[in-house]
Symmetry: C4
Subunit: 369 residues, 4 copies
């Protein structure tokens, strides 16, 4: 990235968002049917390289099952309503109905109920029994507490997800989580993030994580930039972390840590750009919240939106476009990149002549205004 | 173009749109009457360097005749309603009337009717008999099937047009079209595209095409960028392909392949910029769809809008401004570049002191915010 | 300006608009009362460095007198309504009342009446007798015809103004105007333009002009960019032409040709930036059309708006803010740079520590997003 | 900053606004509770590094007390309504009620009442007696007159604040203020500004000021750019002035002059960026005017808005979000950076691993579109 002098001695790199880049076909073309979007992490193989974000508006035990059946991974937030309430249906419905003025305060109440540890174990067991590849998400603060319990109940993949997660957390308030040691002891693969720079990602890779999440929540429902001044445009962030993956692969003698773009992918074109910049998989939020069978019923929010002291996100109302199946695999009846996102990815790969996602990371790109 | 590091090892070129550039008069001026906009391709000479895009909202057998009489070429889409229905008038009217919510799904139905091969031949013959220089457009998928039939019926020029067309298509699903061989066997000049890079254009030029279309559909009715993440801003794309034209001219020992800008030219000022960047001709969409005698009746859509699985375009409603004759040659009663587009091109050339389009490709330009 | 490769072999310079630049105080400050905005061209001295643009919405014989009394120059368009009609009051009122849809066509009619040569002489004589420093404007096409007549009737300054005026006009249609010879023979100082590049300005300076107009009409009422694709952002254009002034001063052994910014100065801050970029004076349009005593009565249009075949401008409706006196010298009761524009210029000069306009051309500037 | 050629011989530096930059976490993280936002200037220590701007919509004697109790400094404008009227409550209420069309003219009237010197002394004494660390603001024009009086009455800190304040003011109209001598004689620390460049700041530092204000009023209620053409984007301005602080520290053998960002910080994220660019403290306007206990009652305006001849600001109406206590320390029930701004600053520091504000000035940043 270009190094810029903001003023005086302060320098910064110019970073690019998905909106500022595009792919540029320039070689052969290929039939979309002959393109593979398969993604393999650890022992798990998925037809679609997507992970449903651990947001109550998208992933419930039921929709984790649906999405699993459609060939992708879904992460249940253990600190969401399904980890706090035996039956949260009425609450989900209420969140959708609340006015913009009231919704933040009410969500702060709803999510102030304690996480129920037995319920956490129960959710995992039930999904496991239903045949789902079970992924669950926890915050860094609750990782030590919840993750082993989820693993014991049968979780296949643990996602540790916060606005920023670092390999070295300093705390005088009790012993901080030693990520490296924790991941080493845990028997299941761990995906951890967000991060957005080469250095931060490299340190996370060294903890033994199977994948890192790239992004600080730049998506449709977050206001991290407004509140904290924190923002790293995603195209640059994904490309930087992909460089860390390559260097760590060499440093570690062959450990390939998956780069998972997380946020700012509101249209299928953005998802395509994430892979073009070097992502191995994409964690999806608003795209899936548009499904008619999503638990949010058209409302969409993340954990930032109900933070007790400093909410950094909003409940957004989205237009619903079709079922999860139609959103993922079409057919599409919308022109704006909200349906058949897997088909769009396949078409983009075919148009540029690539046959798998790893190759597609080399596609030619342009920067636009 | 400037080479930019997006991040890590990912690099991209900065590309410019027509909106970001402008021409800058800096020398002599000239009388507009002494300027020629004539364009010659193969054996055909036109007073106006425009091609009506093969879209059902613009080109019917009737309007092809009208536009021919006004001095320009018009391409009938053989896979549009005129190749599928004996009398599509009611359907054209219906498309205009449909609500935004319903129009995509209904267009998918309308265009699911099969292409009628006899009808294809008949359309060509009728236009030919009416004295029109007949240009017809086919998709790459149907080229082998439809193009020879059209040529046999008397078509003068074949346009092979897809979102991206490459000289080397890989397919396990039957024998892919060998463009070079196909063009060699066909007895009529072929225009092929879109493409948007030097490399892709050079390969297309080597197939023996008489002209290449520059653009992936960045126009008013397309959402390719949203859906596929594909976009190459047009000013840079045209300038790059013009460089391929020059290099191929040398490589081939004198074959001049025409560079035809296709898309993103919604106002006469954009058309002027296309020629300034190096175009030999311009394929026009929305500008012509604004004519009161256009078949769309103010509605405008392309083939992308009715794709069965992954529509990448919309039906747009445009304000009608005057007849084809007034849109092309004025007089204009509108200030926004929608009428007298040939007069605007002539005036721009005169203002900068150039007398023909080839010279005008050297005009001084600026990049703006 | 930075040289940019648009693509292939096409290069262009990055040019900046007034909106993209600003002045940055960095030294001493000064009392606004101790700042002079006086401007002298040829034998004429004005307290204010402004010229009212030759537009019927601003300059009538009456308002030329008013503005003269306020210390500035005003140019009457001899090809406007005052050169075509004995009493145009009703027409001016009608233009204001017309709907957006009808106004262009009706203005084309109004301005199709012939210019009345006797009326032209009479207008000049009357203003002269009223004690006004008389400036009149003509188009390049009518210069040979109208300018000598205006000079004979007593005009003090002739303005030759077109979208683009070059020192070398090529025409097979009769003898083109030889600017150099014409200016040499005429007994009054000539201001000529628009132009927007170093080269074009240098050639105009060599014709013997006393001043050059910088700009192609980028102002609030013009659509030259949309229609012709022509645009040169004003900050760069003024700075370039100022460089031509300096070089011509040397080349000519001391002839100082005035650089007059023309267009794109809708707020007093823009006017300040024009001087900061190197202008000696500013030709004002919309700022003056906001005056309650302007002939347009809140409507504003230029000659481009009534072009018979290719109108490149619109009639705009503006909010009126106060009398000419208040617009120029305040006091202001508006915060947006529409009133007390001379006071704003003085304050900007005082804030940066300069005491006259020539010194102020050296003020420090920044480029912003 | 990058040096750019606007055109000809005119060069300018590219300057960046807070909106164009962001902080990028890339190292360790930290518990927000272990972060200190304390700020010490001269003998005064504050828990929060904020100064309430001397605007009648924010600071009254009463709210100065409130804000002092919350751990921050507030500056009362001695030339505002509290220095002109014994009881201005009705006027404050009236300003809030006025229509946009009438408000500027009426404010010009209200503020044309003379400053009452006895009242000035009385306001200071009363605040002092209430236990407040008393900061008062004066304009450069009234400094010699009002500042010694305020100091005599017990003011702890004097703020000299104008659009631009220079160390060298040229005036033929009486003796101009000699800042250096004045500050030397005065017994209390002086904060002075605005300024926005390295050079201007360095000169102000040499006058003996304890702090300099960075900014010309780029905030929500000002139109300095529109009216005067003056603008220096804040991220660059703060970084430049921070460089002057460092160089002056060396030059002076250890005098640390505080850099105080003033303006353009409408959300907590902007405040974070100001510190990241090098600020020691932030002077806050609209953020505090959103408090339910602010004197403006939701209306917000500065001294520029009531300038007698050339107003350069507006009265803005803002949405009220909570008490001063909630705006500063939360808890927040809004997602857009308007509440818990101290918490947001702490969280941003924790997320990037810094424990105090001085360290945080080194945080990694990016430039975005």
């Amino acid at each position: 990235m270009t190094d810029i002098q903001i003023g005086g001695a302060k320098r910064a790199r110019r970073a690019y968002s998905f909106e500022e880049v595009a792919i540029a076909p320039s070689r052969r073309t290929r039939d979309p049917q002959e393109v593979s979007t398969a993604w393999t992490i650890d022992a798990y193989r998925f037809e679609l390289p997507f992970i449903a974000a651990p947001m109550d508006s998208i992933v419930s035990p039921t929709t984790a099952h649906t999405l699993s059946g459609l060939g992708m991974l879904a992460a249940l937030n253990l600190e969401g309503v399904w980890g706090r309430y035996a039956d949260p249906s009425a609450l989900l419905h209420e969140i959708k109905q609340l006015s913009d003025a009231d919704v933040t305060a009410r969500m702060q109440e709803i999510y102030s109920a304690p996480v129920d540890l037995d319920l956490v174990s129960q959710r995992v067991s039930e999904m496991k029994q239903a045949g789902v590849t079970v992924a669950v998400a926890v915050s860094p603060q609750r990782t030590a507490d919840l993750a082993p319990r989820a693993a014991a109940a049968g979780a296949d993949i643990i996602v540790i997800r916060g606005t920023t997660v670092s390999a070295e957390h300093v705390s005088g308030n009790g012993e901080p989580l030693n990520l490296k040691e924790f991941i080493h002891q845990l028997d299941v693969p761990v995906i951890v993030g967000g991060c957005a720079t080469y250095q931060a990602a490299l340190h996370l890779m060294r903890t033994g994580a199977a994948g890192v999440l790239v992004g600080f929540g730049g998506g449709s429902s977050m206001t991290t930039s407004d509140v904290l001044g924190v923002r790293v445009p995603m195209a640059s962030a994904v490309a930087d972390v992909a460089a860390a993956r390559r260097d760590y692969l060499d440093e570690s003698g062959g450990r390939y840590v998956h780069v998972i773009a997380d946020g700012s992918m509101g249209q299928s074109g953005d998802i395509v750009r994430a892979f073009a910049c070097g992502a191995d998989a994409a964690m999806l939020g608003s795209v899936l919240a548009r499904a008619t069978d999503a638990p949010g019923g058209g409302a969409h929010w993340g954990a930032e939106a109900w933070h007790a002291h400093l909410p950094r996100g909003q409940r957004n109302m989205l237009t619903q476009v079709g079922t999860f199946a139609e959103v993922l695999n079409g057919p599409s009846t919308h022109a704006a990149g909200a349906m058949n996102i897997a088909g769009a990815l396949r078409k983009a790969m075919a148009t540029t002549g690539y046959s798998d996602l790893k190759e597609f990371q080399r596609v030619e790109m342009v920067v636009t205004a």
